[in-house]
């Protein structure tokens, strides 16, 4: 389909431009780390830092999409589903914590009035009297966090394995992911009493007693996000450099041959799909902690497809590019919504067309070209 992954980087390049590009590639993770851990927090005020943190949360699914799409050849238009799973599980925990806390405003007075203490406010409004069973485990942080890490990849693995075993691939699988993301959004909006409906779950104050509104907490959460994100990039890189990554690329380029060589291609594809789901879920959970919201508007097909454009802008073969892509596209979104809202949709619509037509390898592709030009002239 596309150019195979190039992991080996070239020798010494004489021209300045290509040397810089070469450095950027070799030390990409370090550069990214310095940018995110030092430059961004030092140069932005707390409000803008909060925005940056939000963008970085969207970088998690984008990094996953590079693995799944760029290297696995599977286009998932349903990553919002996994983002949403992480986001909602975290929101359930936070909501229960603030509902149980007598100091918080989160509907406790109301709940107490109705004789249902400890119940989230929106359930009271929907006259649900008892906490539904699937909310119970999320009283405990040590169930919530493992659930965020385990459940979405598990769902993804089963979904992927079942479909890939049956050779449901390519466009078909894409439509299945699209449909499942749609289902999840429909169910969340439809079951208002259990999920908060279209308004989502919001209005939480603390995470394990830590006040989320003060600046220190915001910095702490930002740094946790960055560290997790860098970890995700490193895990992705480790997978791609391992034998597993090589087999994955082989499957992407010639699935039949890989299968005839004895590889269980469904297993490989399902595995990488699960890794992508894990990243998306972690991103969703960090999003909910920092933005204070879990919403169906981040689950359905529109946000799911938007997550793909982050990876496409950065370059579908570049894990680090996905982070820059998420940052740039979301930055553009904020810029448009602050200045001329109505043009945002034109912009992102045109972006899909432009990137696919003229920049199939994204920004990372431009870097590659620069290096090639440098090499030729040198």
């Amino acid at each position: 389909m596309d150019k195979a992954a190039t992991t080996e980087k070239p020798e010494f390049n004489p021209t300045l431009a290509s040397t810089a590009v070469g450095m950027l590639e070799r030390f990409g993770v370090v550069v990214l780390g310095v940018l995110l851990l030092l430059v961004v927090p030092l140069s932005l005020d707390v409000f803008r830092l909060g925005l940056a943190a939000k963008y970085l949360c969207f970088a998690f699914p984008a990094v996953g999409i590079v693995l799944i799409w760029g290297y696995g050849g599977i286009l998932s238009l349903g990553q919002g589903m996994f983002f949403g799973m992480g986001s909602y599980m975290m929101a359930m925990f936070l909501k229960l914590e603030s509902a149980a806390n007598p100091d918080s405003s989160s509907g406790t007075a109301l709940s107490a009035f109705f004789g249902a203490a400890g119940l989230p406010d929106f359930m009271v409004w929907n006259s649900i009297e008892e906490l539904p069973w699937f909310w119970e485990p999320f009283h405990h942080v040590w169930i919530t966090i493992p659930a965020i890490i385990i459940l979405p990849p598990l769902v993804a693995f089963i979904l992927g394995y079942v479909n890939f075993r049956n050779r449901v691939g390519g466009v078909y699988f894409t439509i299945v992911t699209l449909a499942i993301a749609a289902i999840m959004a429909i169910v969340i909006i439809g079951q208002q009493g259990y999920t908060g409906g279209i308004n989502g779950i919001t209005d939480f104050k603390t995470f394990m007693g830590l006040d989320l509104d003060n600046d220190t907490a915001k910095y702490v959460m930002y740094f946790i996000t960055v560290v997790l994100l860098l970890l995700a990039v490193l895990v992705g890189r480790f997978i791609l450099k391992s034998l597993l990554g090589r087999v994955l690329v082989a499957i992407r380029d010639q699935e039949d041959r890989a299968r005839f060589s004895g590889y269980d291609s469904a297993m490989f594809k399902a595995f990488v799909f699960a890794v992508g789901a894990l990243f998306a879920s972690v991103g969703g959970a960090m999003f909910t902690i920092q933005v204070g919201l879990a919403s169906p508007s981040l689950v359905g097909i529109v946000p799911s497809i938007e997550m793909v454009i982050y990876a496409a802008v950065g370059g579908r073969l570049s894990l680090i590019g996905a982070v820059y892509g998420a940052f740039l596209v979301n930055g553009a979104k904020t810029f448009f919504s602050e200045n001329f809202v109505e043009y945002w949709t034109y912009f992102i619509g045109a972006l899909y067309v432009f990137v696919v037509m003229f920049l199939p390898l994204g920004l990372a592709g431009i870097l590659d070209k620069l290096r090639d030009v440098g090499k030729r002239s040198g």
């Binding site: 466009v171 619509g349 067309v353």
Partner: protein, 296 residues
């Protein structure tokens, strides 16, 4: 009661079928999924709306037949748009079907915003012609609204015309030849580029007709198309591509299921239930319910 439910299902089926047919023809021929299909349906609906506004202003005496003009206009507007879309964008992406989905999604977003900015951000409605307003009183408690009968009729007429076009004309023959064996049809001198372009235009035109008949059932908003797109894809996948009969059957099943589920469950749960059911069926029939057995 039963008859009424079944009939409501039939009109849902008609719209689904019209939308899915267009998508299935394009997908079968070129392996391309057009994510802007929903917006093309909205374009057809807006063309019909535009016709009604024009007729109201200039030929009020002919209001009773505006809808028929609207359907024809909707077909031509969307198919011309489809033709240019294929020439300017899709034709470069045949080797990359997944990328085509992204690019057409972008086109869809742009169209949506154009509708919002230049037509109306709020839903628009078309007037129903007087002869479509009545009901057909079958018995004391069973009555069918005329507008729905008209939609079903229009769907059957369109399906028949598509069938005749594909199986009884020379152009249809060429389309089937390219669908079945792209390499060989090229070798015997069929101009595939032309076939691709007008097939894509045909598929888009069918979406336009679907949108036109959709205006009889509900109002049209800029994001109407997006709400229907997933269901349409599911119809195509469920039916099995390369089988137009399969698409029609699958639209029939899903349309019927939709109305029956809605009878017992809430609307949103019904939709979710159907989508889940279809995904489950795909597990057992990965190539769709009515796929012909082909060795690949």
């Amino acid at each position: 009661m039963f008859a009424l439910q079944a009939f409501t299902g039939l009109s849902v089926f008609s719209i689904l079928m019209l939308m899915a047919l267009g998508l299935a023809i394009v997908f079968g021929l070129m392996g391309v999924i057009n994510m802007a299909h929903g917006e093309l349906m909205a374009m057809g609906a807006y063309a019909t709306y535009g016709t009604s506004v024009l007729f109201e202003a200039y030929f009020p005496s002919l209001m009773s037949i505006y809808f028929i003009v609207g359907v024809v206009l909707a077909f031509f507007a969307t198919s011309v748009f489809g033709y240019f879309l294929e020439r300017s964008l899709i034709q470069f992406l045949y080797k990359r079907p997944l990328d085509t989905m992204l690019a057409t999604w972008g086109v869809g977003l742009i169209l949506q915003q154009l509708y919002r900015q230049f037509i109306n951000p709020r839903p628009v409605e078309v007037p129903t012609a007087s002869w479509l307003q009545g009901v057909w009183q079958v018995s004391e408690d069973v009555s069918f609204p005329m507008s729905r009968i008209f939609i079903v009729g229009l769907a059957f007429l369109t399906a028949t015309l598509v069938y005749l076009f594909l199986y009884r004309t020379r152009r249809g023959l060429l389309i089937r030849a390219v669908t079945q064996n792209r390499g060989m049809s090229g070798a015997i001198g069929i101009n595939q580029k032309r076939v691709d372009a007008y097939t894509f235009a045909l598929g888009c035109g069918l979406a336009g007709i679907a949108g036109s008949s959709f205006t009889m059932l509900a109002s049209t908003a800029p994001d109407t198309g997006q709400a229907y797109i997933v269901d349409t894809f599911i119809v195509v996948v469920f039916g099995g591509v390369e089988s137009l009969l399969g698409t029609i059957m699958s639209a029939f099943f899903i349309g019927q299921m939709q109305t029956w589920f809605e009878f017992y469950l809430s609307g949103s749960m019904a939709r979710a239930g159907i989508l889940l059911l279809v995904i489950a069926v795909l597990y057992f029939r990965p190539n769709g319910l009515f796929a012909t057995k082909v060795r690949r």
